[in-house]
């Protein structure tokens, strides 16, 4: 970020202004841009896309009225929520009730500081990047407990406690899976981790060794569980606990919780891309060598597509899998994922000591294995799609 502003100053912009003020201004503008132009529409479009994707997977149409294909549905929902009455239950703890959405929102938004948009475009390349990300996403638990307690409602409290227990349990496999990649990369900084990879799939950390391959699935599952997404959405289980810890929230306060949830999907995808899928790397095309803006745009596009693909997978999983029971959920975490992630950690450490520069043939073999698995999976999905028997044939243009 700093180099980017330095380049702009060298090219003659902001001539005459004191340097610190330029940096401060640039930082504030960057944060504003990230928040309003990127995060808000992203969370909103994700909510619309989720409803569309679900609907198409269930042979229905989904929202398609507001704007082209319904893409402005989130704006309509946002404005509607803004106009709703702000109800605080009589016996609720007013201060904590109001503070809870802020804590959850801050916990989610602070993650965007270390998520890169391109080689030079990151709000702040912290030395403790990934650790900071894990730390900040664990602040959300306190917000959830606050929401559950202050609503003064049995079901909110139960939902909040269960959600907190779930998130807190799944932070361990997530943290250990991330640790596996830190072994390979040798740094905690997100840009550093991306720079250790290459553009080709066999240079990604995903295929580096069998342990990182397993670590990816561990991370993704644990991140889904941390985000209260199906199949781990017991706290939000509509049929069981009304809406869990957000039962008593309505209007704008409710929106902040769900804004954080949908935005969190992107954070999950972005972290998976940073750690496992090579981030913003693009092949070195000679034509782009002296066009930084085009190159930066391409890098951003590549990163975004990779990250958003995992958002789509999370929605796909939500449309497909049934909910896991709370005791199955906990035993999955503690009895399966935690030992497995420890094995991955030790295995990767031993691997790194035996082959410090990496083992190229094994990476290629893992890549081929990944391709084979993907091909088999796609074949099965294609078969299901061709032989599905929807009751109603709809033509909504998508």
């Amino acid at each position: 970020m700093r180099q980017f502003v330095d380049q702009l100053i060298q090219n003659g912009y902001f001539a005459g202004a004191p340097k610190e003020l330029v940096y401060a201004g640039a930082m504030i503008v960057a944060a504003l841009v990230v928040l309003s132009v990127f995060v808000a529409p992203l969370a909103g479009v994700t909510s619309w896309l989720e409803r569309r994707v679900w609907a198409r997977m269930q042979s229905r149409v989904g929202p398609n009225r507001v704007g082209p294909q319904g893409i402005l549905q989130w704006l309509a929902d946002g404005i509607k929520n803004l106009l709703k009455e702000d109800i605080i239950p009589a016996s609720a703890d007013k201060f904590l009730f109001s503070l809870a959405p802020y804590v959850v929102f801050v916990g989610f938004l602070s993650a965007f500081v270390v998520i890169p948009f391109g080689r030079e475009l990151i709000v702040a390349d912290l030395n403790i990047g990934i650790l900071y990300l894990l730390a900040v996403t664990s602040v959300v638990v306190v917000g959830i407990l606050m929401a559950g307690w202050s609503s003064n409602n049995k079901w909110s409290l139960l939902g909040g406690m269960r959600s907190a227990a779930q998130i807190v349990s799944y932070e361990i496999p997530a943290g250990l899976a991330v640790l596996t990649i830190v072994f390979v990369a040798g740094t905690l900084s997100t840009q550093g981790i991306i720079k250790g990879q290459g553009w080709a799939p066999w240079d990604w950390f995903l295929f580096y060794n069998p342990f990182t391959f397993v670590a990816f699935f561990l991370y993704f599952t644990a991140a889904l569980a941390e985000g209260n997404r199906t199949p781990f959405d017991i706290p939000e289980a509509e049929s069981e606990l009304v809406a869990g810890y957000v039962t008593e929230y309505s209007g704008m306060r409710f929106l902040f919780f769900f804004f954080a949830e949908w935005g969190n999907l992107y954070v999950i995808g972005a972290v998976a891309t940073i750690l496992f899928l090579g981030g913003w790397h693009i092949p070195a095309i000679p034509a782009l060598a002296d066009q930084p803006i085009l190159k930066g745009g391409l890098q951003f596009a590549v990163f975004f597509v990779k990250a958003y693909f995992w958002v789509f997978v999370a929605m796909w999983v939500r449309a497909t899998l049934p909910r896991v029971r709370v005791d199955q959920l906990m035993s999955l975490c503690w009895k399966y994922m935690v030992p497995l992630s420890f094995v991955c950690v030790v295995g990767t450490a031993a691997w790194m000591l035996i082959w410090p520069q990496g083992n190229r043939p094994v990476s290629m073999a893992m890549f081929l294995l990944g391709v084979v698995i993907l091909a088999m999976f796609s074949k099965r999905v294609g078969y299901q799609i061709r032989h599905a028997r929807p009751v109603l044939y709809l033509r909504p243009y998508i």
């Binding site: 003020l21 049995k154 907190a164 227990a165 932070e171 640790l179």
Partner: protein, 122 residues
Amino acid sequence: MDDLVAHPFFPILVLFCLAGIVVLALLLVAQKVGPKKMDPVKAEPFESGNPPRGDARIRFPVKFYLVAMLFLIFDLEAVFLYPWAILLRRLGTYGLVEMGIFLLIAAVGFLYAWKRGALDWE
């Protein structure tokens, strides 16, 4: 001003303040713009239409506390593993043996908790 802006954590401060301002502003707008027809039924705790019954604070099983305790312990172990992860190449086999002892003790604890049934939920 210079040392503040050059600080790597400055954007976090900006983001905190920005998040606070956005949340406050939106909530203020929502309060001003929304209707205010408060009524006793709206103010009651929501129980899917049933009249609210009993105290909202019920007694909870202790397994929640146990899960939080387990999380804390394994989280601390993960935190101890992070500096080693960065220095792995430099410390070589010696580091692996040292951390191996650490992880062995952790594994003993984990096995004990498993055998005692602390990892079962209901």
